[in-house]
Symmetry: C2
Subunit: 319 residues, 2 copies
């Protein structure tokens, strides 16, 4: 890869900021970060901002017909800016369309305008809806969407592939399971931890606790992204990211109880879904990414414990 | 189907106006039509406007956060409003996103607001991109998009399926091949006819003429839609519409020459695609729609001749 300068949208987010740090520490690339700081946190860029190869632009990518000068001279865009809360659905059905689909179109237009020819995109295993094949491979039967979040990410994938066809852009599209680890600030492990430090005697659990979940450690995630971009050379590369294991929410509760040395009363809200549109089971076939030589370093249990340790040492992220 | 009132968006378009007439003549439903008349033509509603069960609203569905009172009391929306020109890509990359994806979201929001629980949607065989399985079934391997038009229709399908999951909406999503017949006003048969009445001695053909094309007659299309809505009762019904045959552009040129009794010099622009992003071959497996009992009444050749006869008797549509 003949890369000198990359641009990372959502650079102050969970995955974005970890990717910034990983790229700065493993390459000699210049990194331009963009974030609107709606959910991203400047504290996550503490290390990066001390590096002279990193520059930061505070910019909202939702602006219509936006062409950003910072795309000039960029060799590859890592487009991670997105609405990250999968569950915020019934209040505002427009949020995923606005923050994912339209923002991705803006990013592609910036790339086209400034002649940027590579994009890395963070999609989601949610695009498989209620998958008929589990573990789900990238070329599973044409899925049906079950969430506005998944639908918006699918729309982004479609836009990227079409731009690739029309304008000669090379793309790496990653379909993630949920990610855990340092700077993780949403999702059920975070919610459970927050509840338990407030009241260690009681834990409210959405659904019945039997929802199966697959997780990947953030360090393994950013390493997989970089390995895949180096390894896969198709025009459009669609790659699942996850581990070969899964757990139940109830398993994770056990591990969390053990680690925090608490024994709360568990109150289940009932039903087999955490929320309407929640997919009971996203478990991805990861043969493709493993064919690059990549293997995850942490089990789900270890990545949950790593996450809890991080939250314990960084209580400010709970604010 | 317990239906009394339906609403048809894009009611003055090619498919929309034919559906309006078909519904008025085969049911006792009240039909509310919406069109912004950007490409729709009021002449196509000549018959409908004489029927007391038909009402027309001139309205652009692109307006943001639009809630339209006409959705009140509607039992089923037939959402056909769309950017119809698949080829208008390099000039404005935003048009499909704006006129298909965002408009479909607006329509779904109107439905949610007014408690409409059924939607029929005109998608496209273009969502299969360069299909790996031909004839392509509805559950083919997860496709890659090759056009902004297909990507936008896929985004619409995703939105509709997600709304179905979240808000209890029942959906019929039709993936069409190209449609021919009365009121057809774009596509290669139209272009060829227009060229040949201007100059019968010469015909300019995009590509090399070997592009394979599958077509369906508009009368068979609207009948298939109505039959399918009656027959298929899943929450989200995805249904291919096409015939069991295909032709080459060169075949169609022969039939057109025969029918018009002209013998032009054919000038090929070359290449195996009509335009960048054109799919050389959309040929759909139609076993599912045929399982409802529906069969097409016209061959491709007959539907091309029917189209030419219509254009000959209605030269005003060429203006």
């Amino acid at each position: 890869m003949n890369i000198k300068t990359v641009l990372i949208t959502g650079c102050a987010g969970f995955i974005g900021s970890n990717l910034v740090d990983y790229i700065l520490s493993t390459t000699d690339w210049k990194v331009r970060g963009i974030d609107n700081f709606s959910t991203g946190r400047s504290e996550f860029l503490f290390q990066a901002l001390q590096n002279s190869r990193f520059t930061l632009l505070k910019q909202d990518l939702k602006e219509k017909y936006l062409i950003i000068d910072e795309f000039e001279g960029v060799d590859c865009v890592f487009h991670l800016a997105a609405n990250a809360d999968v569950r915020n659905i019934n209040e505002d059905t427009n949020v995923d369309l606005r923050e994912n689909t339209l923002v991705t179109h803006n990013v592609l237009e910036c790339m086209r305008s400034k002649n940027v020819k590579k994009i890395v995109f963070s999609s989601t295993g949610s695009v498989y809806g209620e998958a008929k094949v589990i573990p789900t491979p990238e070329d599973c039967p044409f899925p049906r969407q079950t969430s506005l979040y998944g639908a918006s990410k699918l729309a982004c994938e479609g836009l990227i592939a079409a731009y690739s066809e029309l304008f000669g852009i090379q793309a790496w599209i990653f379909r993630f399971v949920s990610i855990l680890g340092e700077r993780y600030t949403h999702g059920h492990v975070y919610d459970f931890y927050k509840q338990l430090i407030k009241d260690p005697t009681s834990l409210r659990v959405l659904g019945d606790g039997n929802q199966k979940k697959s997780y990947l450690y953030i360090g393994d995630c950013v390493r997989a992204i970089m390995d895949a971009v180096e390894h896969f050379k198709d025009t459009v590369n669609v790659i699942n990211l996850g581990t070969n294991e899964y757990c139940c929410v109830n398993d994770s509760i056990l591990w969390i109880k053990e680690f925090l040395e608490v024994n709360p009363k568990i109150v289940f809200t009932g039903g087999n879904k955490g929320w309407v549109g929640d997919n009971p089971f996203i478990y991805l076939n990861t043969d493709l990414i493993r064919s690059s030589g990549w293997v995850p370093s942490l089990t789900i249990r270890d990545s949950i414990i790593k996450t809890l340790s991080y939250l314990q040492s960084n209580k400010w992220v709970l604010r």
